[in-house]
């Protein structure tokens, strides 16, 4: 039985991270940018789990636990900020949120 190597897992997580980063650069909607950030976090957790499994430790899995917790807290605070921003400016498009530029 051929198991996929660590290389393929790391490449997959790199591709996933790149797609998330592309989304952050290309999209203008703050919520979609946030979703792409979550994709990047998911890619990082995938790499951590693969490394820890192929190196006979499980410390990486524990770190993934912490990453999941921090991501949940981050999403809650970020979405609250987005809702507050929408109340204030009636938009969530990032190129219209430029009050610090002026």
């Amino acid at each position: 039985m051929i198991t996929p190597s660590l290389n393929s897992y790391v490449l997959l997580s790199a591709a996933l991270f790149a797609i998330g980063f592309w989304g952050v650069l290309v999209r203008r909607n703050t919520l979609v940018i946030y979703m792409c950030l979550e994709l990047m976090l998911g890619a990082a957790t995938l790499a951590l789990v693969a490394f820890s499994r192929f190196n006979h430790t499980e410390d990486g899995d524990i770190f993934v636990f912490f990453i999941l917790t921090v991501a949940a807290a981050e999403v809650a605070v970020g979405l609250a900020i987005i809702v507050d921003l929408f109340r204030l400016r009636q938009t969530v498009q990032v190129d219209e949120l430029d009050s610090l530029k002026r």
């Binding site: 039985m1 051929i2 198991t3 996929p4 290389n7 393929s8 897992y9 790391v10 490449l11 997959l12 996933l16 790149a18 797609i19 998330g20 592309w22 290309v26 999209r27 203008r28 909607n29 919520l31 979609v32 946030y34 979703m35 792409c36 979550e38 998911g42 957790t45 995938l46 789990v49 693969a50 499994r53 192929f54 190196n55 006979h56 499980e58 410390d59 899995d61 524990i62 993934v64 636990f65 912490f66 999941l68 917790t69 921090v70 991501a71 949940a72 807290a73 981050e74 999403v75 809650a76 605070v77 979405l79 609250a80 900020i81 987005i82 809702v83 507050d84 109340r87 204030l88 190129d95």
Partner: protein, 169 residues
Amino acid sequence: MESIAFDLLSAFTLLCALGVVLSKNAVNGAMCMLLCLAGIAGLFVELHAYLLAFVLILVYGGAVVMLFLFIVMLLDMQGGQRWRFRRAQVVGALISAALLICGLDLLAMRGRLPSAAPVDHGVGSSLSFYSYQLFTTYMLPTQVIGFLLLIAMLGVIVLSRRHRPSPES
């Protein structure tokens, strides 16, 4: 057998990730993200991290994506357009993307990460392992994470307390 499952799951995950980036509608994007997270959970299962797959579905699929959908519904937003880039920016981006792909391809061809053959743990043993580690070796990070969650909760309550009048009007 496992390799076929890996190929299918990785293709599915990457396609759904592309769906998040490319979908015009934010609701479709959130649904694609849910499927993408399911794919990542499947990869976790293949890496024998069963508990993490379960937690990922529970926390991300159950809480985070639902929160996203809730906010999309609340703000009643359309997907929004892309940036309109200048030609020089597009050319530069294409060149740097090609360089990055070349580098990654070289790494994939030449590079060999040193890795031992994976070992199998039972399902139940990993659960007791996690709990043992969380309450012995990683006691301090667990406490800090608890405080972080408390602070995040307080921050969200403060942020969404009342409707302030806009300072610009």
